[in-house]
Amino acid sequence: MSTTAWITTLQFAGVNALFALSIYATLWTGVLSLAPIFFGAVGAFTFGYLAGTVGLSPFLGLVLGVVLGAALGALTAALVIRLDSHYLAMATIAMVLIGRVLVVNLTELTGGAAGTLVPGELGTWLWLIGCLVVAGYVLARLAKSRFGMAADAVREDAAVAQTLGISPRRIQLVGFVISGAFGGAAGVMQASFLQYIGPDTFYTHLGFVTLAAVVLGGAFHWAGPIVGAIVFTILPELLKDVMGEYDRVVTGVLLVVIIIFVPRGLVDLRRVRLLRARSRQDPPRAGDDSARPTAPQEVTA
């Protein structure tokens, strides 16, 4: 690949990382949601429409994307948070699919199937890294806060969290609002880099890639989704030379392999801590299952 192609790929890796952080924000509270893709679509198409009609400045567009995303996140949470986790996941997948129906049919606002052009002033490294730093900082601060501890508790066991006086729904609502804000920003950034958005820009493929990124990178630390997004965006590009149009097949296979063999992802602080603790102790005794130092859920019954 040429240098420009590499730079473009890395930029999209950055945008995907922002989407992945958005998915991570709800996953942190125990909710699997693909709604960020929908939030991104709303942010991007609103930005495109307002920039085209009233000449909205790109920065205001980004702010609007964040605010709109957060509001939509709260609304989505209000509607779906009561659902059983399976239904909730499917409802958010349905949101992505419905999003495309809306984009195709609201021709006046979105340009319909032909799509719409978007100004690209925000499509620079500075803005991209700025967004990622802000998102990472917010999540890192939250991880050390009472909210972070509560979110961990809700993710591990909502019923136990409730007995500790934590309201799972409120924690998940906050997760959705953060997810919405990140998703809206990611949509505006995606649109700025592409400078053209259509019905398929924010569709299942983007959802697949970002979810895969979270799973690969690890959903237990905010750095996981960023690492995962970088790996998962670059890998298919490298594979394209070898695999041709089948590069997505590799994405799918990887997703299955990772969830079976590395269920906690690449960035897994607990594994690091366990390994460190193990090396401090005496060398493992004979018959010790040292091949599996990771999560308790990996211990076969």
């Binding site: 125990g30 059983d84 986790s85 349905a94 049919n105 799918g252 299955v256 969830i259 076969t300």
Partner: protein
């Protein structure tokens, strides 16, 4: 009046396909605890493989349909062996199977896209039964008749199988706890594989019928079914396949009637509107006890 009756028949036929798809989807969800988003691609591959046999190999339509259904069932078994069974063995929780099924979805969808190409195709005219049948004043296409008949047969057979047979008892035992079921002598592995095959084969049947009814084969065929089937399962509940099947038929009727009398552009919007309405208004009625489920 005649138009209404005719459209009702069309709606019931369309809804039968949705209902068939919903049955398989509900089976996997209720009996294996997997929200299988790859279910749509089983339908796609059922349709694609039978189309390929008819159009490219000149195989008889009926045999091709059977092979397509079996092929879809085989994909279901393969998914279970390669992805879901290892996760079950590791006690991987609720999210892992969803993510694994998204992986399978990506694999099967992109392979379908590569196999079928971007254009939609239709069955060769001579190869498929297409002469309309007159029943009273109504004109019924063979595809419609087949869809309705297939739904009636599948609902009856699957319902009896699950509720009146030893196999059904085994399935219920395994769906509660595979290990306890093993203690009382049930082969959990084989039972789960049988359910996986059954559910995916029914999806394949829905796929073949959908392709045959619209006379339209494309790699996106299963995605439309997935959403409609999901809506049927949410509204109808997944504990009893008859509920999902009834709502599937209702969605088909609603779609055909709303595009006839309201607007065809709003066809999908109405279905999703009903889905969202039920999700928001009656979640506890269908999905209660959420906080009691331990992670």
């Amino acid at each position: 009046m005649e138009l209404l009756a005719q459209q009702l028949v069309n709606g019931i036929a369309l809804g039968s396909v949705y209902a068939l798809f919903a049955i398989g989807f509900a089976l996997i969800l209720a009996r294996m605890g997997i929200l299988n988003v790859a279910h749509g691609t089983f339908a796609t591959w059922g349709a694609l493989s039978s189309y390929w046999l008819v159009a490219e190999r000149g195989v008889d339509f009926w045999i091709a349909a059977l092979v397509g259904i079996a092929f879809a069932g085989l994909l279901g078994v393969l998914s279970d062996v390669l992805a879901f069974a290892p996760l079950r063995k590791r006690n991987a929780g609720m999210f892992a199977p969803i993510i694994a099924s998204i992986g399978i979805w990506i694999v099967l969808l992109s392979m379908a896209e590569a196999f079928a190409g971007p254009t939609t195709k239709s069955y060769p005219v001579a190869a498929v039964p297409a002469t309309p049948i007159q029943i009273g004043g109504l004109i019924v296409l063979p595809a419609h008749l087949m869809s309705i008949a297939a739904l009636v047969i599948v609902v009856t057979v699957v319902h009896l199988l699950l509720n009146r047979s030893r196999f059904g008892s085994a399935v219920r035992a395994v769906s509660v706890d595979p290990r306890s079921a093993t203690i009382v002598g049930v082969d959990a592995r084989r039972t789960l594989l049988a359910v996986a095959f059954l559910a995916a084969a029914i999806a394949g049947l829905a796929g073949v019928l959908a392709a045959f009814s619209d006379n339209n084969v494309s790699f996106g065929l299963g995605e439309a079914l997935l959403l409609k089937g999901f809506a049927a399962v949410v509204v109808g509940g997944y504990g009893d396949i008859r509920g999902a099947a009834a709502v599937g038929v209702a969605i088909g009727v609603l779609e055909v009637l709303s595009s006839q009398y309201i607007s065809s552009g709003f066809r999908d919007a109405i279905t999703f509107g009903v889905l969202l309405f039920v999700l928001v208004v009656r979640p506890q009625g269908i999905f209660g006890e959420r906080q009691l489920v331990r992670a």
